[in-house]
């Protein structure tokens, strides 16, 4: 049997169908959480951000234009929530939030140099990198999600990639 489309699930959820809403949640939760984790770099924050993102999205389901895709809309909410929280934390403490041992990314056997380089990007660049490569959104979708011009997204991506290349070059020389 054909799986229901996002549009079907959104319409049913709007009418109060909790099973449809739960199906929509399960379809997008892993990606939303990973995106939140990749932006925040902390498991505890990712839990909060992804959870808040879904809560806000479901509360606003009545206003969602179901002619548009659900995924990018949800990821926009999650990415913006992550950026808001990190900016607030940075603004309040005056520093980039320090990672504790408990919160450190769990890439034990992964590409540690690249991971460190991604974590070293500014919030704005990190977000577009995560949405582009982690979530698989196109620059146009990212631009819609973050309410930015497509040119800004492309330039942030290009600069982020250049910064990552430079960081990895230093790593090779070292």
């Amino acid at each position: 049997m054909r799986a229901p489309t996002d549009r079907d699930l959104v319409r049913r959820a709007r009418r109060g169908d909790r099973e449809a809403a739960a199906a929509l949640f399960r379809r997008y939760w892993p990606d939303a959480w990973r995106a939140a984790f990749a932006i925040t770099g902390r498991r505890s924050l990712a839990d909060d951000v992804a959870s808040d993102g879904f809560e806000r999205a479901f509360a606003a389901l009545g206003r969602f234009d179901d002619g548009r895709p659900f995924g990018p809309w949800l990821h926009r909410i999650v990415a913006n929530r992550a950026l808001d929280l990190l900016r607030a934390e940075r603004r309040l403490t005056g520093d980039e939030p320090a990672e504790t041992a408990d919160d450190a990314p769990a890439h034990e056997a992964g590409d540690r140099g690249l991971l460190a380089a991604v974590a070293g990007l500014s919030l704005e660049r990190r977000a577009v990198v995560v949405l582009r490569y982690g979530v698989g959104m196109t620059p146009t979708e990212i631009a819609t999600a973050l309410r930015l011009p497509v040119g800004t997204v492309n330039s942030r991506l290009a600069r982020a990639l250049a910064q990552l290349r430079a960081a990895l070059e230093v790593e090779r020389v070292d």
Partner: protein
């Protein structure tokens, strides 16, 4: 065309860890609760609801009259307030500010419109007139101004676990978890002149005397200690231990001290029972005791310790402050203003922990 770096990025981010199943279940419950209500109720049900509400109002007025006439016992019954609890922290009527730290996320609402939601924090407190919020953020102590901007921040040298702002607003006491234990600090309200007062204290929120010249905290031995700022001296207040909560009177010098099974005013025992919270309702000391069946009994206590008033409230009492009893029921945080006002403050998930609460009256 995809470069080697882009290929590596795709591989790296795909390896992000999996979310915890418990977190997913809790997030799903929250998300489903946030769904908009579907459709309007039928007309007959609305009519019945209005009639029931009118009956409840009449009963509340009658109960209030009895209480005013000196009846000792007022009960809110087993039914909670009918209104649904809000997803965001609500400022109750008559309050200047309210703050809640739930599962390490700080929410605050103050009368001037300042609203904060979901900031990761380890401890928090409101300034005396609820114009500022002090919070432990990362390993810093931060004061936030009414517009949400940082007024100041200073490194705390560890996780801040409790904060108490002096009634005159000029000093803040805070506890910091260091490698060996808990330190009690005092800092001026503008974030300068930080000093350590005690290097080994218990994790109980300190309480300020109404004149802001003395501070009660729980020392390493588990007893209440009063630190006199003017003389830089300390004295142990009573023999009760282990002290679980402290509350100086809003006027005067009486210190309420709670242990797990009794309440003391200084050295004098006022009442026995399984204590949930202590505080002041008006000028009277008050204590909440577990009453079984998911309810608590809140008593205001006379000089001899005899209950002057006794109010039964639903749920677990988390705080008594500024004339308000804050309780937690399954799914909700409520502000109970004896004898008969109950306002939902916030929707809670069963697994969510309330780490700190603050309430300021106008």
């Amino acid at each position: 065309m995809s470069t080697e770096l882009e290929g590596r990025l795709e591989g790296l981010l795909a390896e992000a860890p999996e979310p915890d199943a418990g977190v997913e279940a809790s997030a799903l419950a929250r998300a489903l609760d946030a769904l908009p209500a579907a459709g309007r109720r039928p007309r007959w049900l609305r009519t019945a609801t209005v009639a029931l509400a009118a009956l409840v109002v009449l009963l509340a007025i009658a109960a209030g009259s009895l209480a005013a006439a000196g009846a000792l016992r007022v009960s809110f019954g087993e039914r909670p307030a009918g209104r649904a609890a809000p997803a965001q922290l609500q400022l109750p009527a008559g309050a200047a500010g309210v703050l809640a730290l739930v599962d390490g996320r700080l929410s605050a609402a103050v009368r001037g419109g300042f609203r904060l939601q979901g900031l990761p924090a380890s401890a928090a407190a409101l300034s005396p007139h609820a114009l500022y919020v002090a919070a432990g953020v990362g390993d810093s102590l931060v004061a936030m101004a009414p517009d949400g901007r940082r007024a100041w921040s200073r490194p705390a040298g560890g996780r801040v676990v409790a904060i108490a702002w002096a009634p005159d607003g000029l000093r803040i006491a805070y506890l910091v978890r260091s490698g060996r234990g808990l330190l009690l600090h005092l800092v001026w309200g503008n974030g300068t002149h930080d000093a350590i007062v005690d290097r080994d204290v218990r994790p109980v929120v300190p309480s300020w005397r109404s004149d802001s010249l003395a501070l009660a905290y729980v020392g390493a031995g588990g007893r209440a200690v009063v630190y006199d700022l003017g003389h830089d001296s300390r004295r142990v207040a009573g023999r009760a231990a282990p002290v679980t909560a402290l509350a100086f009177a809003p006027a005067g010098t009486t210190l309420l001290v709670a242990t797990p099974d009794a309440v003391f005013a200084g050295a004098r025992r006022l009442a026995r029972g399984a204590v949930e919270a202590v505080g002041w309702l008006g000028r009277r000391p008050a204590a909440a005791f577990a009453a079984g069946g998911g309810a608590a009994s809140v008593r205001t206590l006379g000089r001899s310790g005899r209950p002057a008033e006794r109010v039964r409230v639903r749920g677990v009492v988390l705080a008594i402050a500024a004339g308000v009893v804050v309780t937690r029921t399954p799914g909700r945080l409520l502000a109970v203003r004896p004898p008969s006002s109950v306002e939902p403050l916030l929707r809670l998930q069963p697994a969510e922990q309330v780490n700190a609460l603050a309430f300021r009256a106008r």
